[in-house]
């Protein structure tokens, strides 16, 4: 069995043994459900508050669907750092990393096993939200392309967030610091979009905007997946994992 898969299985199993996993799924589902409910209620209130001939100007897709998945993306910002903070820092603090380092396992296999297991868990974390598309289909909003884009966007965003959280965990033995660093790294990918708006230089502004995750996520929410978006997600994931691997290997420096 591949070492990556062995580490993946062990990490995934240990996640489910900790109270954190079920607590997170419970809280995330509650928050997601509450958000969905509020958006629906808000939409109905808005529709009822305006004349019938203007109601078509309020888009259900934009007001409910896209907002829902943008909000879920925002909520994930607070859920992923607590999941990733322990990945390397806890192993270092407990000295369990010595078992991995003393085994015929490469640093890349360690990083990949940990990344994939946590990413897989985040996918499980959003599984209960699949109830929303079912409700939406039932309510007659069957825009499958948009919904697939929304979930693909969330899944790719989560991969980036987990990669950045893993990097933060590789940088410190302190789990709280790892969580805060992870949060900052993820926030940074959002802030770049806002920073780009304040930059006068067009070229620099465009580069910063491209480096921000929000524009790429918005493309996916609209059901558009370009090669530029795929390159972006691939680059962020690769860079965060590569630097994590370098950090792990720095024990030899």
């Amino acid at each position: 069995m591949s070492k990556t898969l062995i580490i993946f299985k062990k990490e995934f199993m240990l996640l489910w043994r900790s109270p954190l996993a079920l607590t997170m799924i419970g809280i995330f589902s509650l928050l997601a459900g509450w958000t969905f409910f509020n958006l629906l209620v808000g939409y109905v209130d808005n529709i009822q508050a305006i004349p019938a001939d203007m109601q078509s100007q309020i888009s259900f897709l934009e007001e409910v669907v896209l907002r829902l998945y943008s909000n879920l993306n925002f909520i994930l910002l607070f859920f992923i750092p607590p999941l990733t903070m322990r990945l390397i820092s806890e192993e270092r603090k407990q000295a369990t990393i010595d078992l991995l380092f003393a085994s015929p396992v490469t640093d890349t296999q360690i990083i990949m096993g940990k990344f994939l297991s946590t990413w897989a868990f985040t996918i499980v974390l959003i599984l209960p939200t699949l109830l929303f598309p079912i409700v939406l289909f039932w309510a007659g909003v069957p825009d499958q392309k948009v919904l697939v884009g929304c979930y693909l966007g969330l899944i790719l965003n989560m991969a980036c967030y987990v990669g950045l959280g893993l990097l933060a965990s590789a940088l410190t033995e302190n789990q709280v610091v790892a969580a805060l660093l992870g949060f900052m790294f993820i926030m940074f990918t959002w802030l770049l979009a806002w920073i780009s708006q304040g930059v006068d230089n067009f070229m620099l502004s465009e580069i910063l905007r491209w480096m921000s995750i929000t524009g790429h996520f918005e493309n996916l929410l609209k059901g558009v997946l370009s090669s530029a978006d795929l390159v972006y997600y691939g680059s962020v994931i690769f860079m965060s994992l590569y630097v994590s691997k370098l950090t792990l290997s720095s024990r030899n420096w």
């Binding site: 062995i6 010595d98 003393a102």
Partner: protein, 313 residues
């Protein structure tokens, strides 16, 4: 000793940290199939050396050879040949003993068809049957240490490196773990880092002593005792009286200790001078019933070497 029979060999092994050299040009070798004691006071560079042996740390210069292979150029091969128990056993508290050992076996490339047998064998060897299904986090320190040893031997390695394996254990566990280590000797080479000198004397065949990253002594216990003792001690059994003044007439006698009917002479020389002592006493009309050499305690040699090392610095 031929080079082929060395399980572990270091050549000018050096490791620098910013501002400090933890290990300086260490040259030592461990023959195959022995239990080798690795001694040194705290901060001597033992753990740094062990980490370099196991491929956890790269040397700044020099090299390590494990069964002829360098952990820097052949890390995966060397790691398959080594079983390592760090000072703090690397245990996942949320796993059961069986799950943990299975995970360790998989990491060390134990074949799938052999996994169950390897786990069972390690559990039996370390006497963990009673706790195999329990969570590691709920075990006593003694059992945790055994689980650590079990993971070090799970893949049937040729070389086993144990860092302070009996540290903090109750006396019964200490005896059991020492016996377990002795049992490994038949087929394996064991490097045992310990600060318990009597433990090293009890179970080790060869020994290395390091201090401030420098090798002070290396060889079989007997050789180290012979080579590094500065004074001999002899035990005399005398018939009748023998005044101290008569004994002190021998200019090589440094001090005299009397224990009931026995007299222990500490000599100024490495040579035991048993012939001269007997000749002197018999010549003075004292009956000598017996005379024997007292082996130097490793502890004395260790302390003398470390003290000499400190002065040299």
């Amino acid at each position: 000793m031929s080079q082929e029979s060395w399980a572990i060999k270091t050549e000018k092994l050096t490791r620098d940290y910013p501002g400090v050299t933890a290990v300086k040009e260490l040259d030592f070798s461990v023959p195959s199939g022995v239990i080798h004691g690795f001694l040194g006071p705290n901060g001597a560079g033992k753990s740094t050396t062990i980490k370099m042996l196991c491929g956890l740390l790269r040397p700044t210069s020099g090299r390590v050879l494990i069964e002829g292979f360098d952990p820097v150029t052949d890390p995966l091969k060397v790691k398959r040949m080594i079983g390592y128990l760090p000072e703090n056993p690397p245990l996942y508290k949320e796993m059961t003993v069986s799950e943990y050992l299975r995970f360790a076996a998989q990491l060390h490339d134990v074949e799938k068809s052999n996994l169950d047998a390897a786990v069972k064998k390690a559990i039996e060897l370390t006497n963990l049957n009673a706790v195999a299904k329990r969570l590691v986090g709920n075990l006593s320190k003694g059992f945790k240490q055994r689980v650590g040893i079990a993971q070090a031997i799970i893949h049937d390695p040729q070389v086993i490196v144990l860092d302070e394996p009996t540290s903090g254990l109750d006396p019964e566990s200490v005896v059991e773990i020492r016996q377990l280590i002795k049992n490994l000797k038949d087929k394996k080479t064991v490097l045992l880092s310990s600060h318990l000198l009597h433990e090293v004397e009890e179970i080790c065949d060869t020994v290395s002593i390091i201090h401030s990253g420098v090798l002070l002594a290396n060889g079989s216990l007997q050789n180290v005792r012979e080579r590094y003792r500065k004074h001999s001690q002899v035990e005399l059994e005398i018939k009748g009286d023998c005044p101290d003044s008569l004994l002190l007439e021998m200019d090589f006698v440094q001090s005299i200790v009397r224990e009931e009917k026995k007299i222990i002479l500490q000599l100024k020389t490495k040579d035991e001078k048993r012939d001269a002592i007997v000749k002197h006493l018999v010549g003075a009309g004292v009956g000598v019933l017996g005379i024997s050499r007292i082996e130097s305690e490793l502890e004395d040699i260790f302390l003398e070497l470390v003290k000499a090392g400190d002065k040299h610095e």
